[in-house]
């Protein structure tokens, strides 16, 4: 097996706060290979975005990362801040949910993409701008010459996200992290942007980490999935396996909570209660207080254990099929 582009080993993130230490990410491990998309899925506060920022080295002040994060075999956590800055934009790039806040309103779209090329590839200003226009055409921005001279506010939301993708991919990074890249966009534009990321990935062999709350997006665009809950990995599998054979009760609930397009279900499965306060998480399995299948043993943290080859779940009751036998 080839070396994965990205490999996370028991990553933790901690922030000191007035009330003590907050640990929004607690022992997360996964890896992504070249040309593959790994989706990290979960609800707000599950730690998916903090994980992304930890990989990029963009955590807010005070954030401390533990464990290991390797990019192409190189341990990122051992690098100096300057070395990490050099990796960002060159070897790894990130696309955020709201493109307007990631673009500088005072510079044209083309100048901002050109700047990345000048910094990371040492191109001359003219060559960089020409390359930026070429990138605009590749992400299928109509009239790329004119758009490159437009300011961000003159572009639509979908167009701005295309600019962000052009910027992220300009230096042919080995890793692209897309954090809810289409959440702010309309559904028809969302489909265009996700198709574009897929196409770019196929062309360049970039590994993609797709952070999302939308299981439909995962189903259509991911090769592998990590389901996160309250800072921990609840389930990890090939995308096809996760949907065919979900093993963690949280995944079961989540899948049932999404209304289906062909109708049918009279009532949505709802997961009662709310996510735990991470300052004061429940002992053991963090989903236990909301889990209808919880037993006494769930007061102990279950390990992320293999249920079937390549498919892991952190649940004492997995495989859940035994529950159905009892229920029957």
């Amino acid at each position: 097996m080839s070396t994965p582009v990205l490999d996370l080993a028991r990553v933790t993130v901690e922030f000191p706060t007035d009330r003590g230490r907050l640990r929004p990410v607690d022992g997360v491990s996964f890896s992504v290979e070249a040309g593959k998309t790994l989706a990290v899925v979960g609800e707000s506060g599950c730690g998916k975005s903090v994980t992304a920022l930890a990989i990029m080295g963009l955590l807010p002040q005070g954030g401390e990362v533990g464990g290991g994060i390797r990019l192409g075999g190189e341990e990122l956590l051992a690098l100096t801040p300057d070395q990490r800055r050099a990796r960002r934009g060159g070897e790894m790039a990130m696309v955020f949910q709201e493109p307007m806040t990631s673009l500088n309103p005072a510079f044209t779209a083309g100048e901002q993409v050109a700047e990345a090329l000048r910094l990371h590839q040492g191109l001359s200003p003219d060559a960089a701008f020409a390359k930026a226009i070429e990138m605009f055409a590749r992400v299928r921005i109509p009239e790329p010459e004119r758009r490159a001279r437009s300011y961000p506010h003159q572009l639509s939301g979908g167009m701005r996200q295309r600019v962000m993708i052009a910027m992220a991919l300009a230096c042919r990074p080995r890793l692209l992290i897309a954090d809810e890249p289409t959440t702010a966009l309309d559904v028809t534009v969302q489909a265009q942007i996700l198709a574009l990321i897929d196409e770019m990935k196929r062309e360049t062999g970039t590994a993609v980490v797709l952070i999302t709350h939308d299981l439909g997006v995962v189903r259509d665009h991911a090769d592998d999935v990590v389901v996160m809950y309250a800072g921990r990995v609840a389930e990890r599998a090939r995308a096809a396996d996760l949907f065919a054979n979900p093993q963690h009760p949280y995944t079961i609930g989540l899948l049932g909570a999404v209304p289906r397009l062909e109708g049918g279900a009279a009532r949505l499965a709802s997961i009662e209660g709310t996510v735990p306060d991470l300052m004061n998480p429940p002992p053991g399995c963090r989903f236990a207080p909301r889990c209808p299948f919880a037993i006494a043993r769930c007061a102990e943290q279950p390990p992320l254990a293999e249920v079937t080859p390549g498919h892991q779940a952190a649940c004492w009751r997995a495989p859940l099929d035994t529950l159905l036998e009892q229920a029957a």
Partner: protein, 352 residues
């Protein structure tokens, strides 16, 4: 079909567009000639992408903003003809729930004050019974009555949306308009609130207008659905028919774009929604429509059909639609697990 509770006839609203110096530069026709009927006790969904005019339409229907033309009939009475005073009295019959539960509650009012305000405003119960009525309303929306003394900031998004619903129910309205009422919520919490809304609609016999871009939620709770594009309705009909056999190319594109259906490689709609300041002539969808012909630029397509209507010149000649359908990969095992999950959740809820 029962008598309409709400009927819109040819309603239109434009907003002036000004340049940087404040000079008038034309107008956006946010809602342009919309007619709709909402039968009593039914759920009508208005769907469309941002800028299509769906939120404006919701506010027009409650006369929170004034229409330029058309009639807004509530139980047969034109709201546009009412005096300010008569309108205020009418307001107890219609309520609005907003998307953002963090913005729609006054941070300086306790939950009890927020829910009691409409009770007092419309003289629903004597003061002495207020506390008890608030407690009833809170338990109605699944909140413990002891929470009445708390402040909005102490609640999560889902709980705040429940408070907003309790407040909307306080005046015993006949009509509730929900403008993206579950869009800001996480999926597990969204399911709780969707289930609550469904229960309330059924048990209280509410008429509900759901404004939403989320087609899954719409499919789940609406009886009828109206699809808007650039200020106009392009298709309207019973939900199962519109989703199962969409007739307008825009509805088809919208349904096909919903992720999770296993056809990520289906042809995609090109481009963005055109500017509503200068909308395309004829059919407004023609600039993005794969089936557009010369006629579409010349004539506005009329609404055709009975019960299930669409405004497309060529609706009879389109190729078969790619019907919106999720891939059922989990099969019987997942359905049984989910049923067991819901069962056990309910059982534990009863014990608690």
């Amino acid at each position: 079909m029962s008598a309409p509770l709400l009927e819109l006839r040819d309603v239109a609203k434009g907003f002036p567009v000004r340049d940087a110096l404040g000079r008038r530069r034309g107008a956006v026709r946010a809602v342009d000639g919309v007619s709709l009927i909402v039968p009593k006790g039914s759920v009508l969904a208005i769907v469309g992408e941002s800028g299509c005019g769906k939120s404006t339409l919701g506010r027009l229907a409650l006369r929170l903003i004034e229409a330029d033309q058309g009639q807004i009939l509530f139980e047969g009475e034109d709201l546009r003809g009412l005096s300010a005073r008569a309108l205020r009295a009418r307001r107890r019959d219609m309520q609005l729930i907003f998307q953002d539960p963090f913005a729609s509650l006054d941070p300086r009012m306790t939950v009890e004050q927020a829910v009691a305000e409409p009770l007092r405003l419309h003289g629903i119960v004597p003061r002495a019974q207020e506390t008890q009525r608030v407690a009833e309303l809170l338990s109605r929306v699944g909140l413990r009555p002891e929470l009445a003394r708390r402040w909005p900031h102490e609640f999560s998004g889902g709980q705040r949306q429940r408070i907003a619903i309790a407040r909307a129910l306080a005046s015993q309205p006949k009509l509730i308009i929900g403008d993206e009422p579950v869009s800001a919520l996480d999926v597990s919490v969204q399911a709780q609130v969707v289930n609550l809304l469904q229960d309330l609609i059924r048990e209280l016999g509410l008429t509900f207008v759901l404004i939403s871009h989320d087609l899954g939620v719409v499919r789940h709770i609406a009886d009828r659905v109206a699809v808007m594009y650039l200020g106009r309705i392009v298709e309207e009909g019973p939900t199962a028919q519109v989703f199962g056999a969409p007739r307008h190319p825009y509805t088809r594109a919208l349904l096909a774009a919903v992720p999770g259906q296993g056809h990520a490689n289906a042809p995609l709609l090109e481009g963005d929604i055109p500017s509503p300041i200068n909308p395309p002539s004829g059919c407004r969808f023609r600039t993005r429509c794969p089936y557009a012909q010369a006629l579409c630029a010349e004539q506005v397509p009329p609404m055709e059909g009975a019960g299930h209507v669409a405004a497309c010149h060529f609706q009879q000649n389109l190729p078969p639609a790619l019907v919106g359908q999720d891939v059922d990969t989990g099969g019987e095992r997942l359905r049984r697990l989910q049923a067991y999950f819901t069962d056990q959740t309910q059982r534990q809820g009863e014990l608690a």
